[in-house]
Amino acid sequence: MPDNNSLREIASQVRRDIIRMVNGAKSGHPGGSLGCADLLTALYFEIMDHDPENFDMDAANQDVFILSNGHISPVFYSVLARNGYFPVKELATFRKLHSRLQGHPATMEKLPGVRVASGSLGQGLSFSIGVARAKTLNEDDKKVFCLMGDGELQEGQVWEALMHIGSKKVDNIIGIVDYNGKQIDGPTDEVMPLGNLKLKFEAFGWTVLEMNGNDMDDVVATLRHAKTLSGNEEPIMILMTTEMGMGVDFMMGTHKWHGAAPNDEQRDNALSQLEETLGDY
């Protein structure tokens, strides 16, 4: 198992992949992808029990990750490839015609690692309920991790799922909210304030943990703690504070890089800030 320094090195490469993919496609969502690079690296390289070389849809006796905010597909694809689900060089096909790496994750092209399409927001947590229920029926004690954006919580369906999971005690789900406070049109506090999320989740029957999603030590420790806590009747929700655009100075502190691609000059500037640790694709 990699130590946290190795995880940080992987995350740096993942961030380079994100920049290069979005630049190569001239479109995509770098901001949230960069913000969640540490989380996905920790999940796939350290926390989850899973089998990258032998992907199968059913995930028997494996932890499952569901990406509900599908627009951060660049970080998802990079981590899957770097983890061995599919060849790293395939990252170059992101958003291109006939690619398995669709703009938003999809299953139709049979990309290993993807179990459901996402992109239209608010649906991943509901899907996670089904995966979790199937695991219980199968006497499979592995967990279901579901990542959502904070802006995504404005979708009503999320609250249907939150109510279901909390009231019916679906306790093999670990939800994670990317709490970066930004969405396409601006800060969430201006677009549609989310209020006190911790209290809201608790009122819905969840145990809430908080972590700094850009501090690898905190990410690994909190995810481990969540895994230990889960299975005790209360589902776990992690409020993960992140910085949109983390790792690239000019992409941080603004919502402008939510869904905009860097040009070649901006790409080079960004890459100069991110160490190449595993070799670019």
């Binding site: 849809m57 059913d58 995930a59 028997a60 499952v64 999809a106 299953t107 139709m108 179990r115 459901v116 399409a117 996402s118 992109g119 239209s120 608010g122 649906q123 991943g124 947590l125 509901s126 899907f127 996670s128 309920i129 089904g130 995966v131 979790a132 229920r133 199937a134 695991k135 029926l137 199968n138 499979d140 009503g156 369906q157 249907e160 799922a161 109510m163 279901h164």
Partner: protein, 329 residues
Amino acid sequence: MKEVENREIRQMKEYKIIDKRDTRSGFGEALYELGQSNPNVVALCADLTGSLKMNAFADNFPERFFQMGIAEANMIGTAAGLTIGGYIPFTGTFANFSTARVYDQIRQEVAYSEKNVKICASHAGITLGEDGATHQTLEDIGLMKMLPGMTVINPCDFNQTKQATKAIADHIGPVYLRFGRPVVPNFITDDQEFEIGKALKLIDGKDVSIFATGHLVWEALEAAKILNRKGISAEVVNIHTIKPLDEKAVLESARKTGCIVTAEEHSLNGGLGDSVAQLMARNFPVPQEYVAVMDSFGQSGTPAELMKQYGLDAGHIVASAEKAIGRKV
């Protein structure tokens, strides 16, 4: 109208009413039997367990039944997720809440994600009755058939609904199964073979093809009797699977008779009639008349009153058949 040559009253196959039952009970019985025979079948319901006749399954297989509350979007997503691990989820709610209310959820997580989910919808069409137009969906066949990979089935009576429910459990891929609320004639024998995508020819004829689905199939049989007394030989074909359409059967019948009536408890936009018209336009254009709801919402009333009000009965099928025959060149 153009005279039909050599009019004669023929000996026509008769369909007897075995009993009168609601199609939703056929679904409920089959679901319970599937629960016994297939341990992978699970069921989800959005607070309409009694209306969908899912009680027997819920009572006997509580660990495989999920009460989802009034949260249909969450139900569709949960159903899709249950396929991860090999389960075959059957969702149950009214047709309107099974389709229009959750269209994007079905589109993204079921159809586009190719999940083996069976969306089972009761109270379809106008025969939901007194509750009125908020609950009477007349667009659901159209909505569902537009989704790539979606199979769309509208059985005609209790026995066929039971047969269809069992058949879709063995079919791999998303299915929309549509049935209704009222008690109607049950006339398909319980030993009738049901094959998804295979039309069932009920009556042979040579002057006009009546392609009917759902509750309109019985009306089509009644219409064929009336037409027979007028010396018109109508062929009645039960199209229980609207998608994939049995193109061979439709073309074969239409080539023989030279004109078509489609009959369905659905809007004329997007239903069986449109599927047939599209097929014919591309292969063998012939006169076609629609027995369907003419681009309007429904209203409150008894099922019988509404079927008459919106022209969904044997009388209207007869008139449409005569009109179609009259349009033959």
